[in-house]
Structures are given as C-alpha cells and as structure tokens.
C-alpha cells in the first residue's frame, strides 16, 4: 500500500538506477466512456520533473515504487507534458480537493491518496481524509511514520467533482442517486455555486426538484437562473407549487415570467395561484391537490372515486365533502380511517365531520401549524373569500415552516 504524498517529489530512476528526474504527478483516466467504467482507475502515466522541464512517461514503464520510483526502461521518450481531456492529475486535481463521500453523505477534503498495485498496475483505491494525514505532511518527513491513524474512504464510495480539474471530463454521477434528496440538498448548499450546479445538472428532474425544495432560497434562484430554461421549467413542474412559487419569487421577474411561460399550463396555473399569496402565508404552503366528493355520495362511491383518480394525492389523509353542484363549498370531511372502516353503503353524511376548523389563505403559515397542533389534525382546509374552499395545509407542509431557517449553513460561507 502506497500513499501519494510519500512518493511525490521522490527520485525517478531508469532500469539500471540512473536518475531521470523527480516525480511531479501521477496521471489517471476517470470516467472514460470508451471502456467499461473502471472501479479503481489505473495510473496511466507519470509526470516527471527535471529541473524546470516536465515530461510525460507512459504508465506501462512504471515498474515499482520503493522509496524511489523505478521505471522498466532507461530509454524514455522525453515528450513534454501537456494536459489532455479525460485525464486528471492525482496531486494537482485530487489531493487537497473536495469530494463527496457517498456513504458518509458529506463533503470531504482529500488529505492523501492511496495506491495499490493490482496485477502489475498501480491503481487508485481510496482517499485518506484523516487529520493525521495533514500532520504527517506538515511536519518533517522523518517524523511522518510516527504519526499513526488513517481514515480511508474507498474510491468507489466517493464522487469526484469534474469541476475540480481544468480539463474536459466525463464523470459518472450514478452514485449520487443513492443519496436522499435532503442529504443532496445539504451538499448542494455547502458546495460552491459552480460545484453545486454540476451536481444538480447530473440529477434527473424529479430528484433535482426534490433536492431544490430543500436547498436555501438564494441558491435555488441562482441555480435556476444559471441552467437551461427548458430544464429549469421542467424541474419547477416537478416541485410542489408552493416551493416553485418561492423559487420563482426570488428570481428576476423577467426570468420568472419566461420560466412560467415554458411550464405546462396546468402546473404554471397552480404556481400562479400560490404566487398570489405572500411568502410564509397559508396560501403559499397549501396544496390544491386533494380529493373531494359530493355530499350525496356513499362511503363506497367515495372509495371508488379515489381509486379512479389518475394521480392520488400523497399523503392522502381525508376526503373533503363538498356541495353536489359546487366543489368550492366545503360541507365537511371524512377521515380516511373512518372511510375504510365504514360499511360501503353508508351515506357520507352519517360519517362526516361537519365541525371542521379552517384557516384563511392570508393567515401566517405558523397559525395553520398552531391550528393543526391544537386540534390534533393531520390537515386543515383553507377557505378563501366568501368561504370558497381553496386547498388544504397538511402537517408536513406546516412542519417545514416551523423548522428554523437554515441560512446559517450559507450565511457564514459567504465570508469564508
């Protein structure tokens, strides 16, 4: 097992031990689309420094590393080194850079890189993120072996950020899909704008939407403004209308209108409704996606109506009972539990709760949360002007408002 920092700047020797130069860097190819994805990228070349010159030595000439770097031939073709797309340098582009630790769900900084010979080829197998690795590098070389302790993350468990290297790279972001959108959002917030844009670009629209719902408002606005408008509109469609409205409100009004125009009319209209209400109002966090049935239905026909829906609201907590001729006049609600337990032939009027607390769309979101808590409800209906039934606020939506703003994660970063 070899660590990058213990071999860089070491002498490079030819076949019979003659000095060739010092090891400047190691080249690996990652995310090569011609081959099958390589789990542990092999060293494909060496950058050797001789005085001020830097030249390239193909990886196949690397015979062994043992204090010094031994090459298998002495007649090295001294090509000058230039950077090529698809290639990264371990010291310049990986060491001391940030990676995403997929299993740890966090951003880490690489303090050392672990290499292992596998069938005659040296490969990158992991990164060391321990503080001890920093101490080893800070102190005199002689003391380094006395400092023990490593914290290795396997290379297959890290996500390399293509923006770390100044070359064109095709990096696979498949493993990001294993992360929960909440964790992804935390990572997106903690990374710099450009790195976060790279991450979001790699996500499918649904995951991107779920992630952006959890990301701080400012970052979402910047990300949406920075990406292709068609994709931004697609992501906004996937977001809950309230979250989409929050995001659009933080955008330049011209851009926001262009994005709304590119969205599907139905979703755009939904977002418009939410935009009419202030941020942090009930109208902004309510959902218009709920099940309503006319008051003359039975339990059985209400259940059948739910099953017949193309898309069933999630969470489904209750069905809302409305006037037969006017779905905007709320008469009461039947909780899902009641509906399942009741005999299908029972008329809804017999099982429905008529005395339901309601909130207004102009109320502060916190007051809806308080109503939910006081009455022990999972959802509360929202009644607008002349008691028109507009939507519901679920406990999930209300909870998101009550949690403290996470500005701190970014507020401080602005200065760092």
């Amino acid at each position: 097992m070899i660590f990058l920092t213990s071999i860089v700047d070491r002498p490079v020797q030819g076949k019979s031990g003659e000095p060739i130069g010092r090891l400047e860097d190691l080249i690996v190819r990652i995310g090569d689309d011609r081959d099958l994805p390589v789990k542990y990228p092999p060293i494909t070349g060496l950058v050797v420094r001789d005085g001020r010159r830097r030249f390239f030595v193909p990886g196949r000439h690397l015979q062994g590393i043992n204090g010094t770097v031994q090459l298998s031939s002495s007649t090295v073709d001294l090509q000058g080194f230039t950077r090529r797309s698809g290639e990264i340098l371990l010291r310049r582009d990986v060491l001391d850079h940030q990676l995403i630790d997929i299993t740890g769900r966090r951003i880490v900084r690489v303090n050392d890189v672990q290499l292992t010979p596998v069938e005659g080829t040296y490969r990158v197998v992991g990164v060391d993120i321990s503080p001890q690795a920093l101490l080893r590098r800070l102190g005199p070389r002689a003391f380094a072996p006395r400092i023990v302790g490593r914290q290795i993350i396997d290379w297959t468990d890290v996500q390399y950020l293509a923006s770390a290297a100044p070359v064109q790279l095709k990096v696979s972001y498949d493993r990001l899909a294993e992360l929960h959108p909440v964790d992804l959002a935390r990572i997106v917030d903690a990374l710099s704008y450009r790195e976060s844009a790279e991450i979001v670009a790699a996500l499918d629209e649904e995951t991107a939407a779920e992630t952006l719902e959890e990301v701080s408002d400012e970052r979402v606005a910047d990300l949406l403004e920075g990406m292709d408008q068609e994709r931004a509109a697609d992501i906004l469609e996937e977001m809950t209308p309230g979250a989409a409205a929050d995001a659009l409100e933080d955008l330049d009004s011209e851009v926001a209108e262009q994005l709304l125009a590119r969205m599907e009319p139905e979703e755009a209209a939904d977002v418009q409704v939410h935009l009419e209400y202030d941020e942090d109002s009930v109208g902004r966090i309510m959902t218009t996606d709920f099940v309503h049935v006319p008051i003359d239905s039975t339990v059985g026909s209400a259940l059948a109506a739910i099953r017949a829906l193309e898309e069933v609201p999630d969470p489904l907590l209750a069905v809302y009972v409305v006037a037969p001729d006017d779905p905007q006049t709320l008469r009461g609600l039947v909780r899902l539990r009641t509906l399942i337990l009741a005999d299908p032939a029972t008329p809804l009027t017999e099982v429905m709760d008529e005395d339901v607390p309601t909130v207004s769309p102009d109320d502060r979101a916190e007051s809806a949360a308080r109503t939910l808590a006081e009455y022990n409800l999972l959802a509360v209906p929202v009644l607008g002007e002349s008691r028109r039934f507009l939507g519901i606020v679920t406990v999930d939506d209300a909870l998101a408002v009550l949690l403290p703003e996470v500005w701190q994660r970014r507020g401080g970063r602005t200065f760092a």
Binding site: V108, A190, S192, R194, E249, E405, A416
Partner: protein, 409 residues
Amino acid sequence: MRKRLWPYLLALGPGLLAASAGNDAGGIATYASAGASYGYGLLWAMVIVTVCVGVVQEMSARMGAVTGKGFSDLVRETFTLRQTALILLTLLVANTGIIVSEFIGVAAAAELFGVSRYAAVPIAAVFVWLLVTRGSYGWVERIFLVLTLAFLAYIGAAFLAKPDWTAVLRGTIHPTLHFDRGYIHLLIALIGTTISPYMQLYVQSSVVEKGVTPEDYRYTRFDVIVGTLSAGIVAAFIIIATAATLHPRGIAVETAADAARALEPVAGEYAGWLFGLGLLGASLLAAGVLPLATTYMLSEALGFERGVSRSWSEAPIFMGILTGLILLGAVVALIPGLPLIKVLVGVYVLNGLLLPVELFAVLRLVNDPELMGPHVNGRIYNILAWTIAVAVSALSLVLIVMTVADWVG
C-alpha cells in the same frame, strides 16, 4: 421580505458591502486618530490606500468569478500544505485581532451610553453566539447595517466644521512623510484597516456564491470600484472632520468619546449617542460575521465537519473554534484598564503587518494561467499590483525595524 429587499441588495452588491465593512470600529478609530494627530497630513495616504484597496478587491473578485472558488479553497488546492498552513494561520491571527477589536467597539459604544462594559460585552457575546448558532442572523444583520449609516454624519460634520479647504487639498495631493514611529504606525494601521484580508475573502466568496461568470464580471468590477470609492470618501471625511475639530485643539483620540466629539458640529450634545449607535451597529455586525467566517475558512480548508446547524457532537471542532473565537474576543475586551482606542489601532497595525502574506498569495493565484486562463493580470496592472504588495511589505518592515530599534535603545 426578500422580494422588497432584493433591488437594494442588487444595487449595493458585495463590493460596496465589503468596502463599507472596512469602516468598522477599528477603521473609525484609525481614521479619527489620523485626523486628530496629523490633521490633513495623512489624506494623501488615504488616496493611495483607496487605489490599493480597489486593486486588491478587484483581483479577489476576478478570481472568484473565473475560478468559482473561494480564497481558502484556492489556497488549499494550489499551494503546498505548509504554505497553506502559513497563510491560514496568518488569516486566523488577523481575523482574531479584528474580532477582539469588534468587542472593544461594543465596549466603547456601551461606555458612551453610560453602560459598563463589564455588563455590555458579556451580553453582546452571548447575544452574538446565540444569533449565529440558533437564530437567523439575516434581518438582525440588516439592522446593524442601518445603524452604521450613522457614520455618514461625518460628511456633514466635515462641512459644518468649515475646514480650510486649501489645506485639505494640499494634504490630499501633496504627500508628506514623517519618520516618527507614531506616523508610520498610523500609516500601517490605515493600510491594515482599509485593506483587511477578510474583506477580500468576503468579496471573493460572495462573487462565488452568486455564481458570477467571467462574462458578466464587468458588472462586479463596477460594483467593486463604486464600493471602494464610497468607502474611501467616508474615510477621508472622517479624517477631515477630526482634523478640523480635534487637531487644532490638540486633542488626540484616546477614547471613543474623543472620536465622537468631531460629530458635535452636526449632532451637538447628541454626538456621543450618534457615534455610539454607529459603533454598536458596526461592531455587532462584524462580531457576528467574522467568527463564523473564520471558522468556515478553517473548516473548509482542513475538511472538518461543519455547519452551525450541526450539534456539538456532530461538529465538535467547528463549534469549538466558533465559540472559542467569540469567547476570546469578549475576554480580551474585558481586561481592566485596557486602552481601547490604542488596542483598536494596534489590531490594525497587526493586520497591516500580516497583509503582505495574503497579498503575495493573491498575486500568485491571480497570475496562475491554469486557474485564470486569459484572465490573469495584464502587464501594467500586474506592475501596479506588485508595487502595492512590495510597498506594503516595505512599510511593515520599516515598522518592525523601528520597533526593534526602540527596544534596543
């Protein structure tokens, strides 16, 4: 809230904010001391220093726009680990000094209101710690920012004090150098307070956070220039106001009350209150932001688990550094008999002494073609930037030599 504030923030911009942040407790103390002790004699330096700030801020903003990375990120990724450690240590010491100075600012403001600093400073420390770790700092920050507008009163004060404008002009365009230690001291403090490393860090990371691209960098550059100029003008007027009111009467600025007296032409008997409000706002603003920024800088560069939304057990090093910095700032400010204004100026002398390390790091990064591509410094601009770095280093060296000579005999 955000919708209504947005246009203002857009108009202000990070460049303007960063430059006004330079006019904090230490800044005011330094400018006031300069005016009171040397009259208009240091105005010329203010002009040169403003140009320097502009150049340094511009390079930082450009690095942010081109690389998309913050300063500590770039340092860690470009320099060797030992160089990185040196640069970070320098920034840590400089920022710690400023944190101390902000709590001293709180103490000085409290005393203007007749409140004991032994009450005010601990309350401020707890308040700041709670705000940063628990609550949302956003709107509080804006209140503090508005309070700092009190310092604009110096512009009015300068005019009302009816200074001798020909003398002002002479002081502005005619450089004079005295080789006494107090003068060099103030000169370096002037540089240190105006070109504080944390302002560059701030400009660069806000450019990065906003995702400014090289294509729309020209707007950012405009913002940086406007910010630098306006901060320079406010600073110059503080010098003029104190030079016109305090210098002729031979009052050196020893306490905050002295500096406030220069506001008497505007505010009369309320001068102390006006000054106190501005000082309190400026000090609390920076006292909240700087410990957090410094902690993020270290944690990001060294890769600790970070974020104030994390608990002590999740991010012990992060929370430890953050709490330690606030505690240290407050404790130093509570040392009995501390000559407040002298310490404030002293902190900026320290800042000025450490500045060369940061300046040379910026120059190395901004001229790295692999990072900056075609956006490296132009030749003439580079000569200017290097001249600044060398001149600042030379001044720092002069101060060190003079101090050592003083000790020796």
